[in-house]
Subunit: 208 residues, 2 copies
DNA sequence: GCCATTTTGTACCAATTCGCAAATAATTAT
DNA sequence: ATAATTATTTGCGAATTGGTACAAAATGGC
C-alpha cells in the first residue's frame, strides 16, 4: 500500500513536472530559461521547484537524464524489432525526425544535441552528461549493427563501431538541421541516403 | 588615402573586437554571455559596443556572419586544392578538428553548430542565419564532390548533393563530439571512416 | 482534538541584466 | 582659435535574475 507519506500532499506530479521543465528548456536552452519560466510551466512555485529538483542546473541535469532514459526506451523499441537492418534504421531515423519536428511552436530538434553543447564548454557536469548520452547512442547502434554483421546481413569486413558512429553522426546532424528549419522531405532524404550508404553489401570502410 | 574619418578616432579595431566578441559567445553561448563579458573581452565600454554593433542580438548575428566568412575562406582553401577527393576531405576534416579542439580553455567545437541551435528555436533571425550557414557547407562540399564525379573519381551513379550532405553531417557531429570532450583520436578516426565511406569507387546510394 | 510533518504561498533579497542619457575627451575642418 | 564631429566615460534605471525565509495550509498519527 505504502499509504501517503505523512505531511501535506504534493500538488504536482514529479514526473510530469520534470517533463514540463524539460520542454521549457527544450525551447529556450539552459541559460535563457528563467526560474519564472519553469515555475509557470510546471505550475509549481519557486520554493517547491527548489525542494523537488534542487537548483536550476541540477534540474537541467535531471531533465537530460530523463530525456536519455526516454530515448533509451525508444531506441530499444526501434532497434529491437525484428526486420532488416535497413528497415530498422529507417524506423529509427523516421521516429527521430517526427520527434524533432513535433514541437508545439515549430520544430525544435533534439533536446540534448541542440541545448546541451552550448552549456557544455563551461560546465563540466553538463559536458559529462552530454558525452554519456552520445556514447549511449553510439553503443545502441553498434549493438544492432554488430547483430547484422553476425547474421551475415553486412559483410564480415564491416566495422560495426565505426558504422554506428557514422549512423549516429547523421542523427546528430538531423537534430540540428531540424531546428534550423529544414523540411521533413530534406531530412527524410538525408536519412535514406545514410541508410543506403551504411547498409550496402560491400562496405569499403575496412578496419584499420 | 581616405584620411581619418572626422571626429575622435576609435580606440578599438572593429574587426578584432568582433572576433573577441565571437570568442566570448563561443565559450558561453548567446544567452549566457552578458554585455559585461563582451565589454571586458573587447575592452570597449557598453555604449561603444552598442554604437559599433547594435544590441546584443545584432552583435551575435554579426559574429555568425563573421564566422561564416572565415569558414568560407578556409573551405575554399581546403576544398580548392588539387588532389584526390579523399585527401581533400581528410584535410577538410583535419582542419576542422584542430579548430574545434583549439579553445583557450579546452575544446569548444564549432561556433555555429554548438551555439546557434539553442537560440534558433525561439529566434527566427538566428534560425535563418544558422540555416544559411548549413546550406553553405552543404553547397561547398557538393561543388567539390561534383567535381570528383565529373573527373571520374567517383562513379557517375553517385549523387553529389546527397554525399555532400552526408559529409557535412559528419562534420556537424564532430563539432558536437569535440565540445563533449571526445579525444582527437576518436574524432580523426570518425573522419577517416566518413572519407572511406564517401570515396568508395562503387557507391550504393543511387539517385531516387 | 492535537501534534508532528510536509508542502505551499507570499514576500523578499542581493546581484545582475540590458540599454541609454548626459557630460567629457580627442580629433578634423575652417 | 573656434566650431563641428565622433568616441569614450560615468553613471543611472527599470527590470529580471537565482535563491531563500517565514508563515499558512493540508495531511497522517495518536
Amino acid at each position: 500500500m505504502a499509504g501517503r507519506p505523512r505531511g501535506r500532499p504534493k500538488s504536482y506530479n514529479p514526473d510530469l513536472a520534470l517533463w514540463q521543465a524539460l520542454e521549457t528548456f527544450w525551447s529556450s536552452g539552459f541559460a535563457a530559461t528563467s526560474l519564472d519560466d519553469l515555475s509557470a510551466a510546471t505550475a509549481m512555485n519557486r520554493p517547491s521547484l527548489y525542494a523537488a529538483f534542487g537548483d536550476k542546473k541540477t534540474l537541467y541535469l535531471k531533465t537530460l537524464q530523463r530525456f536519455a532514459s526516454e530515448m533509451e526506451k525508444s531506441l530499444a523499441g526501434d532497434l529491437g524489432k525484428a526486420g532488416s537492418l535497413s528497415d530498422t534504421l529507417r524506423a529509427f531515423y523516421g521516429g527521430a525526425i517526427e520527434l524533432y519536428l513535433s514541437g508545439p511552436e515549430g520544430p525544435r530538434g533534439c533536446y540534448v544535441i541542440c541545448t546541451a553543447p552550448t552549456a557544455a564548454a563551461t560546465d563540466a557536469d553538463i559536458r559529462q552528461a552530454l558525452a554519456a548520452i552520445l556514447k549511449e547512442i553510439d553503443a545502441s547502434l553498434e549493438a544492432r549493427i554488430s547483430c547484422a554483421v553476425a547474421e551475415g546481413e553486412l559483410s564480415q569486413e564491416a566495422d560495426p563501431a565505426m558504422l554506428a558512429r557514422l549512423a549516429a553522426s547523421v542523427l546528430h546532424s538531423i537534430a540540428v538541421r531540424a531546428r534550423a528549419g529544414e523540411s521533413r522531405d530534406a531530412l527524410q532524404s538525408l536519412a535514406e541516403g545514410a541508410v543506403q550508404l551504411i547498409c550496402q553489401p560491400h562496405p569499403p570502410a575496412s578496419k584499420r
